[in-house]
């Protein structure tokens, strides 16, 4: 059996997850990356993306999946993920996701000539990415 490592996922207002895991996969700015016990110490920024957790004792392909709104991961003797917002796949409210997505798309449709680099555009893109991630995660994530 693989070694396990302690994982904590924290947000500003609550402790989202704490437990022993065998493998945790996150989306860093450079792409997906998995961490297991004994990883070299690291501190990496996370993109909007999926979080996959294989809990201690879980089967080879049993993962718990959550949507993460960016943040960072701190790997030491234990792993800490800090994020502004995170949701388990089963808790995602699809209606809200779709309405938010529609709102952003509507805005983009009305403002076709907004500067690519502007804060508004960046924000809209971020919202869109979040909505997409969440709808992916709600359907079981891209690895399914």
């Amino acid at each position: 059996m693989a070694n396990s490592v302690r994982l904590e996922v924290i947000t500003p207002s609550k402790l989202f997850y704490r437990g022993e895991v065998e493998l945790v996969i996150v989306t860093t700015l450079d792409g997906d990356e998995g961490f297991m016990a004994g990883h070299v110490w690291a501190c990496k920024l996370l993109d909007v993306g999926e979080l996959w957790i294989q809990e201690k004792g879980a089967g080879k392909n049993e993962f718990r999946v959550a949507a993460v709104a960016g943040g960072f991961i701190d790997v030491k003797d234990s792993i800490v993920i800090y994020t502004d917002a995170v949701e388990w796949s089963e808790d995602i409210d699809m209606e809200r996701v779709l309405s938010e997505k529609a709102k952003v798309e509507d805005w983009l449709g009305k403002h076709p000539d907004v500067d690519e680099e502007s804060a508004e555009m960046q924000n809209a893109k971020l919202m869109l990415a979040k909505a997409e991630t969440r709808s992916n995660v709600a359907e079981g994530g891209k690895r399914h």
Binding site: I10, P12, S13, L15, D30, C43, K44, L45, F72, D84
Partner: protein
Amino acid sequence: MATESIQDIKRRIKSVTSTERITNSMKLVSAGKLRKAKAIFEKTNENSHFITNTIQELFNSGSEIPQEYLAGNREIKTTAYIIVTSGRGLCGGFNSNIIKEAQKEIDADWEPPVIVAVGSKGKEYFEKRGYDIHSSYLAPPESISFLETKELSTPILEMYDNKEIDEVVLIYTSFISTMEQEVKNEVILPFEVEKDPDFMTVNKFVEYEPSVEAVFNYLVPKYVETKIYSAVVESATCEHAARRMAMENATDNAREMLDALNLNYNRARQSAITDEIIEIVAGSEAQN
């Protein structure tokens, strides 16, 4: 006359009783809210420690980090004050303590301050005295979300980056126990992180990705946001604790008053009865 004062006392008893009922129920409500706020506060506290620790580690990692957030890097002229008060009164000295401290700090500065008010009490006070309020957050603090604090902190960071302000001070009430709260003022920017020799013992290689600078630039706004957020949450906890205390005292006082009034009422009633008996006796004697 005795009858009149009996009625007076009765009226007062009635009004004090209803006041007592109100304060008592406010006390119970505050106690409930306090419990809820405390739970959030404890979690937030943990989280803000974590962010602070990570930043400290970065400083001690020995790599080059942008210097503009470090203390002693530029002269401090304009200070931004984030003043966390409550939106409602009836909580004893809670707001006045904060405002007193803030006023003291502001008076000590040469340059006019930039004020960010959280809670309407602080905003009203400084507005009345002609200070310029840069921005404010007025909804009840216990329901503040992290996103909303972001709206407060982003303009502050921008101003700091543009060198419009040189220092950010957070004035809030810190929670010690349900009985005791303390006004705190904390400089959140620039950082005063000293290289801690003990920290160097963990001289392990740490992978930073994309780079130390990027991680640092991500953490700085996070740090400010978390600080503000946890201060607001902490202050909300204190507000409920302060209100609970104030209402408990008010209830006790009302009960004391009721005791005294009841005594007076009974005395007045007794003396009225005695008067009547004397009159009856005197009347019957006169007939004989």
